[in-house]
């Protein structure tokens, strides 16, 4: 039986309209704006903006700060992504084990950072990372190690941000992995055990292959999430010191909402979009060729 068109519109129409208003139109508008010199003077009077073609993009390519932000973001991505996946997977495996004590306690404490407001977290971390009174340097001091000025040192600032980001992201991914782990049927492990596979071999040859869809989902989501790194460096370091934690979105925010160069900011947004699209596409096709 064919579904009447009226029913189709009735069911999905409202959500399509909402999607149009709140997603598609803003995206198209910002694409258009990225070809204009929309700035402070144009906010009140749109007539003051004019089309300048690809000038924003050309300027962006010659903007050393953009490249710096890009490198910083990729640095964060390259370090944080594997860390997140490995940590989340190992914690999920531990929580999923029958023999683990205090499971609920660990579940709660791993997940808590994900739902806590980043602003509140950043204040606590800024204190923990404080070189003179912080918990971390106090702890290192017990072993006679002189800790660095975490947030004040251009070399250590990004690793500090990454620590916070990973710590915050792990909880959410543990949930995904736990769900994946619970879907692996027990007989696979039993069969592997009968074949004489060790614990580690079981993990390598049963768990990992069965979790492939989950691992794929988690990596794609974390890549997208880390490319959009913003709140943590904004709260902890505001991009400093010496621009060592300036991320792309932080740079976009600065151009758009502090300098009101909305045209330029839109072009950054589109570069970011292209990058996320390209990386996700690459991951997708890598997976397809794998299967």
């Amino acid at each position: 039986m064919k579904t009447p068109l009226r029913a189709i519109i009735g069911f999905i129409g409202p959500s399509i309209i909402l999607l149009l208003i709140f997603m598609l139109i803003p995206i198209v508008v910002s694409l258009v704006i990225s070809f204009t010199d929309f700035d402070v003077y144009a906010i009140y009077d749109w007539g003051r903006a004019s089309f300048i073609g690809f000038e924003n993009y050309v300027n962006l390519m010659q903007d050393p700060l953009f490249w710096r932000a890009l490198l910083n973001t990729l640095y964060a991505l390259v370090v944080a992504m594997p860390l997140t996946v490995v940590l989340a997977l190992s914690f999920a495996t531990l929580i999923n084990r029958e023999a683990t004590y205090f499971k609920n306690f660990f579940k709660v404490s791993f997940y808590l950072p994900s739902i806590t407001n980043t602003v509140a977290i950043a204040i606590v971390w800024a204190w923990m990372l404080n070189p003179d009174y912080g918990l971390i340097n106090w702890f290192l001091g017990l072993f006679g190690i002189q800790g660095p000025n975490w947030l004040g040192d251009p070399i250590w600032a990004m690793p500090s941000v990454i620590m916070l980001v990973v710590w915050k992201a792990v909880g959410y991914n543990i949930i995904l992995f736990t769900a994946g782990l619970q879907n692996i049927p027990d007989y696979l492990y039993e069969a592997a055990e009968l074949d004489g596979a060790s614990r580690f071999q079981q993990f390598l040859h049963v768990t990992i292959p069965s979790l492939r869809p989950t691992i794929f989902f988690v990596t794609v989501m974390t890549v997208i999430g880390y490319l959009q790194l913003f709140e943590e460096p904004y709260m902890l370091t505001a991009g400093g010191p010496l621009n060592s934690t300036l991320s792309i979105v932080l740079y976009l925010y600065r151009q758009g909402f502090r300098f009101f160069k909305l045209g330029y900011a839109s072009s950054i947004a589109f570069m970011l979009f292209l990058m996320i699209f390209a990386l996700t596409y690459m991951q997708m096709s890598a997976r397809r060729s794998e299967v």
Partner: protein, 400 residues
């Protein structure tokens, strides 16, 4: 029962008074918004033909709220505007030019306000804002610790300040002074530049950050960091550091007076507030809030009446009584209420020599490049001379 009746009849009375009144909507932020009703009531008693509706916006959302308000033309008649926000929002063309109103006003005249405060309302040569309340920075210092290193007075000039800080560190303070701000570092640096007779632009609009006045001040400021006399990023808790003597000197605004008294009473009597150290002058940073009328307002005359009312010296004193905001009108400072607290009076004195940075829309961008060039110098990546030269290139590019 009788109480409710009384309240009810009062409400009825107020409603009947306000019937047909012109309504003025006001956006205000923070503590000001909570307490502005008290002044609005006084205003409505005097001018029953007007009705004032105060809408409170939290500081955290205010910037976005005003921005979207302007973009969507959903604005009130009057808004409170932080002085550093005057330039970006003012240059959008959303504010009413107040010059014609000022010409016909008895109360609001340039000479009735602190000069530095008055200038915060000028953007692109137009008077968009009237200073409502002001704040300025002065020097907070520990009298007991300074006495230990031979200072029975606050450091009076640059040499004394440097000397005192150095001695304080030798005397066991972790740092001698706090200067760093992770953001908006220019607010700390610029007073030193002004004190040395320098600035960012000269009157003809040329960038003069490579001039000796600027470079010298920049070098003076940088030395505190490179010699480890002040924390570089990630400073601790200002109150605790002040109480423990880890940072016995810092520059801050008048709000800290009551906060220190409330939060660290254990050092009562061992600290004081002094004017900025002198070099060629004692110039300090000027902040605070202005009042603006939006161009889309339909009750501009009424809105102006309310601004005039808030600028009256007696109302300004009343406002100080309510929220401790410092009057922008020197006449109000003659009131014994402001003179009786010597610490607050110091801020009053400092206000005569306080300055706001240039009010141009590009200043946000300039301030960010100042921040990053300052960082290059205080981290020892560049000499102050080199950083100043690069800063000049940055600013010239921004203003191009």
């Amino acid at each position: 029962m009788r109480k409710t009746l009384v309240v009810l009849s009062v409400v009825m009375l107020l409603v009947s008074f306000n019937f047909g009144a012109t309504k003025i909507t006001v956006w205000a932020m923070g503590e000001e918004a909570k307490s502005l009703d008290q002044l609005a009531e006084l205003f409505m008693e005097e001018y029953p033909e007007y009705e004032v509706d105060i809408q409170a916006i939290p500081w955290a959302n205010a910037y976005d709220k005003i921005l979207t308000g302007i973009a969507g033309r959903q604005v009130p008649d009057i808004a409170q505007m932080g002085t550093t926000w005057m330039a970006p929002f003012g240059s959008m063309g959303a504010f009413e030019d107040l010059a014609p109103y000022i010409e016909n006003s008895e109360v609001v005249k340039p000479e009735n306000f602190f000069q530095g405060a008055w200038e915060t309302g000028i953007v692109d040569g137009k008077q968009f804002g009237i200073p409502w309340y002001v704040d300025t920075r002065a020097m907070y210092y520990r009298t007991d610790l300074l006495a230990q290193v031979g200072y029975d007075h606050a450091p009076q000039n640059w040499d004394e300040l440097y000397d005192a800080v150095k001695k304080l560190v030798e005397n066991g303070s972790r740092y001698g002074i706090t200067l760093y701000q992770p953001q908006d570092n220019y607010q700390v640096l610029l007073p030193f530049v002004w004190q040395n007779g320098g600035d960012i632009l000269d009157s003809a609009g040329n960038v003069i950050v490579d001039q000796p006045e600027f470079v010298e001040a920049f070098g003076y400021y940088t030395r505190f960091f490179t010699e480890g006399l002040t924390p570089i990023a990630g400073g601790g808790n200002l109150f605790q550091d002040f109480a423990s003597g880890d940072t016995p000197i810092f520059f801050s605004g008048p709000w800290m007076v009551s906060m220190i008294r409330a939060q660290i009473p254990q050092i009562d009597g061992n600290w004081d507030v002094a004017l900025m150290p002198e070099n060629k002058s004692r110039t300090s940073f000027m902040g605070g809030s202005d009042l603006v009328i939006f161009r889309d307002s339909k009750n501009k005359e009424a809105a102006w009446k309310f601004i005039e009312f808030l600028s009256r010296p007696d109302i300004q004193v009343k406002w100080y009584q309510i929220v401790n905001a410092l009057p922008s009108v020197p006449k109000a400072w003659e009131d014994p209420l402001l003179q009786s607290d010597p610490m607050i009076a110091t801020f009053g004195e400092q206000l005569n020599d306080a300055k706001a940075p240039i009010n141009i829309p590009e200043f946000q961008e300039i301030s960010v490049s100042i921040d990053s060039r300052v960082q290059e110098a205080i981290y020892g990546r560049k000499t102050p001379e080199q950083a100043a030269k690069d800063l000049k290139k940055d600013i010239e590019k921004i203003l191009k």
